[in-house]
């Protein structure tokens, strides 16, 4: 039933195979190579091509090529230019090209990470990734020295997922730093990382990490094959990857978690999930994801169990308020007035006196207004941010009520809905609630609690039909598993689940990632 919607897949796949056929080797003559390079880069000004002689070897000119800005200039000067030009006096004069090439690699180049390249395309890619290329006249191979070095944003506090107690570092835009942040926390050789490059144009570096022995083999293979299937021009953010590898398109529910917190990523690694890191974004993806994981915050594990349980239950409550509060109000005032205690009923009826709209329209106006305010608050320039809150407070709070368009009770309902939607730790599950809220409002307006119950059954059925990398979305509530209930609605004390820590390193039965029982039927 799951279907992968990927209209570009076929077309781009063909392009890809074409490209591989025209791999061209390097030329022996470096002046030809330089000319070709200039042609290829269209005389870009930031490409530095430096011709020089190695030591006292005057016969064969050498050339160093790098991109300004991508390569660390000090680094190039000190470890390539200086070592080749000044400290290479012991290189035999009048040696052949091949011998010279070898001795540079073995003796002269004081860099730790040096590779040899023969193919033109790889050479271009290396320059574009910030490496420095060294070529010698008369030899058709090139030396590549890792000299990447550009300005990075420093590691800062997470902005979208904050905690009161817990580590304060967040991922940055650099995949290297991100991998380091994870490696620093797990000093185990079983932590594996594999990299792929995705994007015909952007050639973005993507890495996926997992812990051998905890993550299921099938899951890792599935992640790999789904990543391999992606054929697109560019990957700019983890969201691009997410759309390609999620199981189902037509759903308001997110099927992968994103986080900018290294501790959250590490926690998921230890639970057997795969973390996908994308160069250029601080948000990493975690697969597979189930519905209940979106209500977990890393802080749950740093606070004491009772506090954490309370906070988690609160979050579920908040999710339901954010999802259902306006529709319950609509259903109560439109169809089920008898359910309200009499004084409250009188009160609400008095408030609604003179309101020109039915409750549904009233709620719709307010909800849409609030959604606009929220969106405006995010997009507008910081400097004018205050204006939104002032206008919002006046429009929503005072004026609408005084003008007799909206009843005060409605304002309370919309207010509590809004606040609730901010208390959900994961932003993308909050968005699901926002979308579904309107559907629930419509069904409440049409058929009261009856309509809402049917909608709820349909939504739950839809969630049950979802899978994230083969794991049922509502697991472990359905299919129900008692042993996994200790970290869903409750967060039982750490010693309760001590067993799992001792099983790291061997393929274990207690904490497998995709243990969706065998009743999953696919």
């Amino acid at each position: 039933m799951s279907f992968h919607w990927n209209p570009f897949q076929k077309k781009n796949h063909d392009n890809n195979t074409d490209k591989k056929q025209v791999e061209s080797p390097l030329h022996k003559d470096i002046s030809e190579n330089i000319a070709k390079l200039k042609l290829e880069f269209g005389d870009s000004t930031e490409i530095v091509i430096r011709t020089f002689h190695i030591g006292r070897h005057k016969d064969l000119p050498a050339v160093a090529i790098y991109m300004e800005g991508l390569a660390d200039q000090n680094f190039v000067n000190k470890f390539i230019m200086e070592s080749l030009m000044l400290h290479s006096s012991d290189i035999e004069e009048h040696a052949s090209s091949k011998a010279l090439f070898q001795s540079i690699k073995m003796n002269a180049l004081t860099l730790s990470n040096v590779k040899i390249l023969k193919v033109w395309d790889e050479l271009v890619l290396s320059i574009l990734s910030g490496s420095t290329i060294i070529m010698i006249d008369g030899w058709n191979e090139a030396l590549v020295g890792e000299t990447q070095g550009w300005e990075e944003r420093a590691i800062t506090e997470p902005t979208s997922q904050t905690v009161v107690r817990g580590p304060k570092d967040a991922f940055t835009e650099s995949i290297k730093i991100n991998v380091t942040l994870i490696r620093k926390r797990i000093k185990s050789a079983n932590l594996r990382m594999e990299t792929v490059q995705i994007g015909e144009v952007s050639r973005t570096q993507i890495a996926y990490m997992y812990i051998q022995g905890i993550a299921k083999e099938d899951l890792v293979q599935e992640v790999k094959s789904r990543l391999d299937k992606i054929h697109t021009d560019s990957i700019l953010e983890s969201g691009n990857i997410e759309e390609f590898i999620q199981d189902q398109m037509l759903t308001p529910f997110p099927q992968l978690i994103n986080t900018e917190r290294p501790d959250a990523a590490v926690g998921n690694l230890l639970e057997g999930r795969v973390v996908i890191l994308i160069n250029g974004t601080p948000f990493v993806l975690i697969a597979p994801a189930t519905f209940f994981q979106f209500f977990q915050s890393p802080e749950d594990y740093y606070q004491r169990a009772d506090i954490a349980t309370f906070m988690r239950l609160l979050r579920f409550l908040v999710f339901f308020i954010s999802l259902l509060a306006p529709s319950i109000y609509i259903a109560l005032t439109t169809f089920h007035q008898q359910m309200l205690p009499f004084p409250l009923l009188i009160n609400i009826a008095a408030q609604r006196e003179g309101i020109p709209f039915p409750a549904f329209i009233e709620a719709l106006i307010m909800e849409v207004t609030f959604e606009i305010l929220r969106e405006a608050g995010i997009r507008m320039p910081r400097a004018v941010g205050q204006a939104v809150s002032i206008v919002g407070a006046i429009v929503i709070g005072e004026a609408a009520v005084q003008a007799g368009i909206i009843s005060p009770a409605m304002v309370i309902v919309v207010g509590i809905t809004a606040i609730s939607s901010f208390a959900i730790p994961s932003f993308n599950i909050a968005i699901s609630a926002r979308i579904l809220r309107f559907i629930f409002m419509a069904s409440a307006a049409m058929a009261g609690f009856y309509g809402m119950t049917l909608t709820a059954i349909v939504v739950v059925a839809h969630m049950n039909s979802l899978r994230s990398f083969g794991v049922p979305y509502l697991k472990p509530l359905s299919p129900f598993s008692l042993s996994e209930q200790k970290d869903i609605f409750l967060r039982l004390p750490q010693w309760f689940s001590q067993k799992k820590l001792s099983t790291i390193g061997n393929a274990n039965e207690i904490k497998k990632p995709t243990n969706q029982a065998s009743q999953d039927g696919d």
């Binding site: 205690p341 119950t453 739950v460 049950n464 129900f480 999953d520």
Partner: protein, 363 residues
């Protein structure tokens, strides 16, 4: 062919919801007056026997539905004809339950909404869940079963706290002897709800662990039977036998009496929620049984194509089935006495006998 799997727990909750789905609200065994709950309790014993019979057939043909083995036992055409009758029976049953919903909702919470809308959205929602498959249906049942249990437990507590329960209403036991009780058992409580379990012969082949089906199935029958007994006894002790027999929806009338702290009152809407959920899954099971029966009988490879046309048939049947709700309920009593025993007992007993003698002969 069987690819989807349901777990034992899912089977348990599905059977549970199925059995007390409509029964909690519409009530059964009221011919026995005060002793209705005894009639239901005896009905449970009958239910166990029925389940044993279905289970016997299931052990003989663990991968086949009732239509499948009726063709094996009686031949292609005779067996196929009985299969056809079962399809009509299930569609009729689904339509009856849909009409129950239309009637209860129309009479209680949505007074001015036309019935075609009430029934229409219900059957649409059910068609969607059937479209997603039996596994999704069972897993969804799992979640809503929990919800129903919580609501039921709360409701039960509220009855105690509001001091409505008067156990003396149940006394004296067996005022007019065993006769009316046994009559109610025969005419009513065995067939409704336990005879309807025949639809589960179409779901048993999907269960994952075949060995424990008997244990779990029996547990489900007993638990749900005790729950109905309990709820009927509570209703009787709250309302008294007079109001109980006159009321269309006894549970709703009983719940309406709850009043705690001037805040928790008029909980009949909550009872209606339980009804909606129960009936939803009950119709789903009949509907699904009808689809499977059709697919098996006519060798339809794409089961999903049958879903929407069947939904239309069920919806229309439910609308024309009776002129008003009282007629509908009276018809129900008639059907329970005449048609139900044929399908729930008659044919399965026939199959059991044929299968039994066949096995003797081959030996």
């Amino acid at each position: 062919m069987v690819k989807e799997k349901i777990s034992l727990l899912q089977f348990f909750v599905l059977l549970n919801l199925f059995v007390y789905g409509t029964n909690l609200v519409v009530g059964s065994g009221l011919d026995a007056k005060k002793d209705a709950w005894i009639a239901i309790l005896i009905g449970v014993a009958g239910g166990i026997l029925l389940f044993l019979m279905y289970y016997y057939l299931y052990t003989l043909y663990p991968d086949l539905s009732l239509v499948g083995y009726s063709q094996k036992l009686l031949g292609k055409y005779a067996g196929g004809f009985i299969g056809l009758l079962y399809i009509i029976f299930f569609i009729y049953e689904a339509a009856r339950d849909l009409r129950d919903v239309g009637g209860v909702i129309g009479a209680t919470v949505l007074n001015e909404t036309p019935m075609i809308f009430i029934s229409g959205v219900m059957i649409l929602a059910i068609a969607y869940i059937i479209y997603l498959g039996i596994e999704v249906l069972a897993r969804t049942a799992e979640i809503f079963w929990g919800f129903v249990v919580i609501l039921g437990a709360l409701g039960s507590l509220f009855f105690y706290f509001s001091g409505l329960i008067d156990v003396k209403q149940l006394l004296p036991l067996l005022e007019s002897g065993w006769k009316p009780v046994l009559k109610a058992v025969y005419t009513n409580t065995i067939m409704f709800p336990f005879g309807e379990m025949v639809a589960f012969t179409f779901i048993l082949p999907y269960i994952e662990k075949k060995k424990q089906v008997l244990k779990v199935g029996m547990a489900a029958v007993i638990v749900s039977g005790l729950l109905i007994t309990y709820s009927t006894a509570i209703n009787l002790s709250v309302l008294g036998v007079d109001i109980m027999t006159r009321s269309q929806f006894p549970l709703l009338s009983a719940v309406q009496g709850i009043e705690i702290m001037n805040f928790i009152e008029h909980l009949d809407v909550m009872a209606v929620l339980v009804l909606i959920i129960g009936v939803f899954f009950k119709i789903s099971v009949f509907y699904y049984a009808a689809i499977v029966a059709m697919a098996d009988l006519f060798k339809v490879t794409h089961k999903k194509r049958l879903i929407f046309p069947t939904a239309i048939i069920i919806l229309n049947t439910s609308l024309i089935i009776a002129g008003n709700f009282t007629e509908h309920l009276n018809e129900g009593k008639f059907v329970l006495r005449t048609i139900f025993p044929i399908f729930a007992v008659g044919f399965p007993v026939l199959y059991c006998l044929i299968a039994f003698f066949k096995s003797k002969v081959t030996r």
